[in-house]
Symmetry: C3
Subunit: 298 residues, 3 copies
């Protein structure tokens, strides 16, 4: 089984995975179930956080790692097809985590792989394990996912994180509020999917209007490259920064998440607040990835 | 002992290595004979296939790996000599696999190394383990090497793979047919070596003329950079592509090999034919490299 | 505890570390005390020697390694702060060795790290483990450090190695002779620190004047970029090259050290002399780093 998209996880899958992750995280000694197994990390677009998280998870469970840390060191810059690269790498490893610059390339890579492939981000496509760690963090903090209100703030049109969070939230009774400038509103394909699953959602253009309602706020940056009016993007950018002042207007139990690295999103004055869970989420990610590796290989 | 050239393997060496590789490949559990040993992979010219193959082989046998995956991350771009780099790396590892951009650089690197050095490709020089996996694949498929007819097709003048295959084939009673445009015919040094060893060989300019005779076809690309007449190279290039139609004119037992990545050589419509052994060869390479690591370190 | 500067090691610390390193170096089988532990090597400025030395030390003690081998593969080129990167990496590893291009950046990185951070070079700042291996080498060769005369030759103003060696030497009764062109003399901050500790030192402009007195000569290159008069730097450069002729004017027991890579410093005709200890020091470095990893993690 490959892990390619947020869509492939059912509510039952997710809860089982979170239970397994928690069991690992609270165990005194990690089981060495990956002994003799090799993870290949293939990062044709660099990402230290995600790569090191997968590698550390594998090593902590007793496995080993081989790596293509960037395109530079890959045969692909000799013109090899992704299908051939995937087939080749699957000869040398038992499982593969791959990031690619373009959408759809992970699926292409996985086509001839003889071992499980995990999508660790395919451009504007998907990055399903990011949602796993965010939802695992919410579930751990609140003990549940049903009944919560989730704010997804930033470039809802282009961000694979915000789009994917919405799709995965639909497995639970979660109310979604998209907070985005009108230029980069959530797209119709996501809205249609949510309507089909009878998910309550609405759209606003400012965090101020909804901060009091939110149980969870996932933040993602506004990308200048998608705005023609540079003055406007600068003004908007400021409205989408999360600082201590705005956080303190919300619930005390608010959970703030950011996929990191943070670039004009959450300010450092938020770091010491109990609402700041983005660093906790990085640590949680280690265990949810361990649980995923175990599920795919055992 | 260093592994620097195809020349250093006798018929007896090769057969012993192939037996050892097969024993590893058919064993239920790989022996952990490399436990406590470290392989350094030094790739001053990137190659994911060869690097990951060596690393996976080492890890599968219980060893560990340190790596310089490209020149960028090396002290050599501060101007360190290859001799000093070799001496230094040999302090940190028990065995080294190295690829360099220029011919002769691996030997230079090995000069002061206190541990075995394996040439994983030195520019237009040699790449002996590539031949090991190709001949191992033929030996495994056919149960023998003597009596076969081997086609070596492509840029016979510059390709280290085609040149090295010819040299290693000379250890067996193999008939060689060089298939190359006249601009990049096999060079006199190889012909002299073959004559000395009484190897039967001939030269043709088109696969069509000999496809029916071949037991094995090793394919390597025509490199545009060696042709002044660009129109001619385009025309020639097309004649040196291997597709389903031409394969089906040959023997049913034909073995097609390509060192990969394939660039205008074997077409994907060949992949599903039983004659296509280039992916099998990648897998076999893992075990022949394990056998080599064991032989050099035990 | 972080390892950030040469200043933090007392005489007692150093001798304990050297004893521990020697015990490791003379043991028949290395203790596997790092089993289950992960070292992260973060090299935002590449250095194969230092990186591979740390990685090999960790693996030899049974630990594992994750790595950011260069800035290219890091999230930092997306604009992540060093504080956030440090916090993130410390989630995935038990100990971190980091090199940065600018002075002070390692301390910044260590600020939020939840695990020990070792400074493996921060630009013109510090590189404390380099001194550890140099002093360990002297201690091993001579059985003592007190009473020796140490020449520090090269760019005493900018070289973190020469500056740090002076600071660490002050823990022992070592006489220091700085050998530097007047343009790059040792700076006042170091002189003040040495005077405070009642260290005997003097300054000369030529090795010839003091070669007979030295027990140890640490060599570092003259960097052209710090001289406006290019003719002068060329002339000076030649005077700061160490060859067989000058070495043979010194004591037979002279110990020559060079942090390597050597660029217009020690000539290869010195390599075979018994005075050449720079390659021995590389090997010793492996064991002093093992001792340091053990001390920080056990």
């Amino acid at each position: 089984m490959h892990i390619l998209t947020a869509d492939q996880f059912s509510r039952k899958d997710l809860l089982a995975l979170f239970q397994a992750a928690k069991k690992l995280q609270t165990s005194k000694k990690l089981p060495q179930t990956m002994k003799g197994k090799i993870l290949a990390t293939v990062f044709l677009e660099p990402s230290t956080r995600t790569r090191l998280s997968f590698e550390s998870a594998m090593l902590r469970l007793g496995g080993q790692v081989i790596s293509i840390p960037n395109l530079e060191t890959s045969s692909m810059n000799k013109g090899e097809s992704l299908e051939d690269t995937g087939r080749m790498v699957s000869t040398f490893a038992d499982i593969i985590a791959i990031r690619t610059p373009e959408k759809g390339q992970v699926a292409e890579f996985a086509k001839h792989s003889t071992v499980p492939v995990i999508n660790a981000g395919d451009g504007m496509g998907e990055h399903p394990t990011q949602h796993l760690l965010d939802f695992y963090t919410i579930w751990k903090e609140r003990g549940k996912l049903d009944g919560l209100t989730l704010g997804l703030m930033g470039d809802c049109l282009h961000s694979r994180v915000l789009r994917g969070m919405a799709k995965m939230a639909a497995e639970f009774r979660i109310v979604i509020i998209f907070i985005a400038p009108k230029e980069v509103r959530i797209s119709d394909d996501i809205k249609t999917a949510l309507n089909k699953k009878k998910v309550s959602f609405r759209e606003v253009e400012s965090l101020d209007l909804v901060i009091k309602e939110l149980d969870v706020l996932e933040v993602n940056r506004i990308r200048k490259e998608y705005f023609s009016d540079k003055k406007r993007v600068e003004k908007i950018g400021k409205q989408f920064i999360v600082n201590k002042a705005i956080v303190q207007k919300g619930k005390k139990s608010l959970i703030i998440l950011d996929p990191l690295p943070r670039i004009n999103t959450v300010q450092t004055d938020v770091d010491s607040l109990p609402q700041a869970k983005y660093f906790t989420a990085v640590e949680n990610g280690l265990f949810v990835r361990m649980a995923l590796l175990k599920r795919l290989l055992n």
